[in-house]
Amino acid sequence: MSAHDHDHEHQAVPSDPALRVKALESLLTEKGYVDPAALDALIDHFETKVGPRNGAKVIARAWVDPAFKQRLLADASAAIAELGLISHQGEHMIALENTPSVHNLVVCTLCSCYPWPLLGLPPVWYKSTAYRSRAVIDPRGVLREFGLELSDDVEVRVWDSTAEVRYIVIPERPAGTESLGEDELAELVTRDSMIGAAKLKGPRR
């Protein structure tokens, strides 16, 4: 990630992205098209307010409330809106349930479509050419790379997010969590499990 730590002497323009961004920001601010305070607020929004914790709340609710889970599977946008979590890049949501016999995995082969309001901005691996190229042709190999070996009798469904529909996976509730409350359950839900790249482990004893 430190491609621009080396000597810049012989590097052709355009130069360091940090300098280019600074120049753009200052010009666009001077002309009134952007406001540095708005930039700060947008960055803060994604660094501190939005992230996989939002998605985890939806999953934990689905685990403890069967009626909510039914609504989530029937009309995810409406069910998620009950929790106040619909916004930009998550207007049309579909929830996919992982079970012992069906495993869902979400990808965007053409760019990096991802349910921002529920999971935040996507991680580097999700945006990588490696994941985008292989998830559709070799999902089992991809999952193996994530440490998840699926048996041949499990059905794998890959969802290529080619439109403005965004997908979230409801991972299987781990065994040994019967006594946990909704908040404790939400703590167990990881980002990768809601993309379908991981299964969840129970609480540490």
Partner: protein, 218 residues
């Protein structure tokens, strides 16, 4: 366009780069790029489809070499000129021209944060679906030079309508400035073996969101 962005099914891209405790932005400038992009989007001079096409139009070697936000930045530098935010001279010199156009009104924090895209209602009853769940369809063998969301790996392949998502803007025309051409969008199930041949698991499938204009009865 048949570009390098259309990655589904390609080989040779290496292992998947995974990072523990990954930050939202790896460098401060990446956050600034993201926020600048969102702020400019609030001026509504382009559609998201046109935005995506700008990234696809980066030279293929750059597309593969640049990190995610470098691509956003490179596309943004072209876009601010093309959509009249800055003149080429301003971008080059870093100084606003004395008589240059200014935003009226200036963008506020509230405008940037609350900006919402103008998406159609999926339930628009005036636009009828051409296909129905359970129906066998084939993805048309189309190779448009402009923006499209029909991945190459699905073209000419047969599948089944799994779900009708309702009415959505059509990316090909929307990106080209030819209007939203609203139509039904479906989740189409393709058997992994239809897409990838006998080596694929007979149980597996890929679901792709495809519009009426991409499909024909099979």
């Amino acid at each position: 366009m048949n570009g390098v962005h259309d990655l589904g099914g390609m080989h040779g891209m290496g292992p998947i780069p995974r990072e523990e405790n990954e930050p939202v932005f790896h460098h401060a400038w990446e956050g600034r790029v993201y926020a600048l992009d969102r702020s400019l989007a609030a001026h509504q001079r382009w559609t998201l489809d046109a935005w995506r096409h700008d990234i696809e139009l980066l030279p293929p070697a750059d597309y593969l070499r640049m990190n995610y936000y470098e691509k956003w930045l490179a596309a943004m530098e072209r876009r601010v000129v093309r959509y009249g935010f800055l003149t080429p001279e301003e971008l080059k010199s870093g100084k606003a021209a004395r008589d240059s156009a200014k935003a009226v009104p200036a963008l506020t924090v509230a405008m940037a944060i609350n900006y919402k895209r103008n998406l159609p209602s999926p339930r628009d009853p005036s636009i009828k679906p051409l296909f129905h769940p359970g129906q066998r369809v084939r993805a048309r063998n189309l190779h448009p030079a402009g923006h499209t969301r029909l991945p190459r790996y699905a073209r000419g392949k047969s599948g089944e309508i799994a779900r009708d998502h309702g009415v959505h803007d059509f990316p090909d025309t929307s990106a080209a400035g030819l209007g939203p051409k609203r139509q039904h969008l479906y989740s189409v199930r393709f058997a992994a073996r239809e897409l990838w041949g006998e080596a694929a698991s007979p149980r597996d499938s890929v679901y792709i969101d495809l519009w009426d204009d991409y499909l024909e009865p099979a």
